[in-house]
Amino acid sequence: MDKEKRKHAIEMDKQDIQERIHNFYEVALGYDEEQALAEAERCLQCPNPRCVQGCPVEVPIPDFIKLIKDKDYMAASLKIKEKNSLPAVCGRVCPQENQCQKMCVLGKMGDPISIGRLERFASDYELKKGVTVPDLESAAVTGKVAIVGSGPAGLTVAADLVKLGHEVVMFESLHLAGGVLMYGIPEFRLPKEIVQAEVNYIKKLGVDVKTNYTIGRIYTIDELFANGFDAIFVGSGAGLPRFMGIEGENLGGVYSANEFLIRVNLMKGYLFPEYDTPIRIGKKVAVIGGGNVAMDSARCSLRLGAEEVYIVYRRSREELPARAEEAENAEEEGIIFRLLNNPTKLIGDESGWVKGMECIKMELGEPDASGRRRPVPIKGSEFLMDVDTVIVAIGQTPNPLIQRTTEGLETTRYGTIIVNEETGASTKEAVYAGGDVVSGAATVISAMGAGKTAALGIHDYIQKKKGSK
């Protein structure tokens, strides 16, 4: 391949902008075979691949790309699955530009390899052909493990432990398993069919998935132990929405991003009244925040028929925490970015519905603890925005129920569970934790990485316990 050609990544087709802002179908269409082969061709097959160091679960990147080159797509997918049990998900939602692709050597002189797109290609191929479930009959059952929460962390631990021969029961409080993948990330970024295929896969492996079970209410952690579980993994995520604490936040038309996204994604509010759950969207929507959650809320608003949608963020473009690709998609679709602005007050009409938002302009000062320049309000720069829907997407903290109802489970002052990073073990014997409930809101792949660690930690613990008997 000539040098000049190697510099440029193969673009991925997307749904036409004017079309897609009116539907919930997937925006990024994925590579076709020809595109995938051309992109795979660019990979240098580095003997010392730096890309792998950038992946939190160390997907054998050059190896699976080689298999794509050889047109053995099924083998490519299985190769990824040796390390990553949710490749169709990660290929779509990983912030690759900060992970594997950031480290790819090709990035120095041009575009890095589009590792995520290739990962998606291989695993979509496998999903289409029908997923093969490994035969686990022979594995001897050793321990009985309860998993609390069915997000990427819980799904990973469940899959790994059942493969190691343990009996696994997964408890999920919602009516569908998948965590944020089901209730948070919208259909147009991650089709729910794909998530359910992953959930079905772990069911086929033999995991007993119990939805509608809220641990801390129906059973406490200690009651689960009394019911015969040897170990428990807590992967309950960071689902508690934060609010700004400003005047008018409880007005009608003011949603937490979680409420908004649960209504839209999990309950399919965009199909109301065919589906029963309503969602009300106004003409002018302000979404507060700059992360993936904010981008998703803004893009859903647009698709629900809002005329103007604003992202109101208190720092500048550079600091936007959202995936670059998603911020670009949002901008392309016509979302208006109001950067360096911070809301100070919400104003309601006579019926208690929001009709305006007062904001103050910000400027960037000295760097703060996170290393980012701290936004400071500019005195006297308040102004009024005309809005009739406000979605608050300024972050989530861990669901507090388990921490509140479990003695001996230590947490930080942010409510995250304290664990030993090498094993995932909490301060309470036989209780392990990982994912957003430990790290605070992070990424799918880091939750899965934590799940891998905890699965091994639990396996060791059970073997030691049973061995010493």
Binding site: S173, L174, H175, Y183, T211, N212, Y213, T214, R217, I218, Y219, G239, L240, P241, F243, E249, N250, G252, G253, Y255, S256, N258, E259, I262, R263, M267, K268, L271, F272, P273, E274, Y275, D276, T277, P278, R280, S351, G352, N399, P400, L401
Partner: protein, 278 residues
């Protein structure tokens, strides 16, 4: 799937169903609720637990057929099943030993109030119970509540039975010192009773039916202002001291989806010939 084991009409448009859910029955306490979802397209709807039968492994709940979900449920029969049932959710009601306790129930809420009353009685409290309904035909659990009451009162909106409205409670409160009060009913009833108990500083526990989605603390749809602080009814409640509740905000937040609810209900009525609102 969760089977409807029995179904009974308690009053026009008000039904009691018993659902097969042994795991939930074992862990339920008075004041807690379940969330039901009828089918794949269904909404998550909270209903308060009205009692359990540990031998049969069932949970019962009473509901008023007012909107799309409850009207659909009203059409279902014993033997039919609903797709999802989650619970118990929320915190149990306070049922300790207080002494003299005033209980007020309105409409469909008299059924779950009975579950609370039984527990309060078991703990040695003396119960003054008032039940309210729209008319004499709309009374729910009247006999059941009477059976656990030391003093019993009836009220109707139109005066067709017992007292007209709840104003008579002012006299009851004047004549008798209470140590605790519990009110379950529509917000208007909660607000009314709290107005009457406020002069006595009587701790008046009310169950708040704010809008809910997940019921597990993840969405904040259920947020209410209690003593000046934002609380999540599903996590911190649903029972709160009514003296501290901002009822006007609650009422305005409850009405957020009224147009959509009306539309869904109308579509349902058109398609299914739904139950007429009493």
């Amino acid at each position: 799937m969760y089977e409807i084991v029995t179904k009974k009409e308690l009053a026009p448009n008000i039904y009691l169903i018993e659902l097969d859910a042994a795991d939930i029955a074992k862990k339920s306490n008075p004041g807690q609720f379940v969330i039901i979802r009828l089918d794949e397209k269904g909404e998550r709807v909270p209903l308060t637990i009205a009692g359990v039968d540990l031998n049969k492994g069932t949970v019962s709940t009473a509901f008023h057929a007012v909107g799309r979900t409850t009207k659909k449920l009203a059409k279902m029969k014993a033997g039919d099943s609903i797709t999802d049932l989650s619970g118990p959710l929320g915190n149990p009601a306070e049922v300790g030993k207080f002494g003299q306790v005033l209980l007020v129930g309105g409409g469909v809420w008299c059924a779950p109030l009975h579950y609370v009353a039984e527990a309060l009685r078991k703990n040695g409290n003396k119960l003054y119970i008032a039940v309210a309904g729209r008319t004499r035909n709309d009374m729910v659990y009247e006999n059941e509540l009477k059976a656990v009451a030391d003093q019993f009162f009836v009220a109707t909106d139109d005066g067709s039975k017992g007292n007209q409205g709840l104003d008579f409670l002012a006299d009851v409160l004047k004549a008798q010192k209470f140590d605790h009060a519990v009110v379950m009913g529509p917000v208007s009833t909660l607000k009314k009773v709290v107005e009457l108990t406020r002069p006595y500083g009587l701790k008046t526990m009310v169950t708040l039916a704010s809008l809910m989605v997940d019921g597990t603390g993840m969405c904040g749809a259920c947020r209410v202002t209690v003593a000046g602080e934002t609380k999540f009814a599903c996590m911190d409640g649903p029972e709160f001291n009514g003296l501290d509740v901002d009822f006007d905000e609650l009422i305005s937040r409850q009405r957020v989806y009224l147009p959509e609810e009306r539309m869904a209900s109308m579509i349902y009525d058109k398609l299914e010939g739904g139950v007429k609102r009493g």
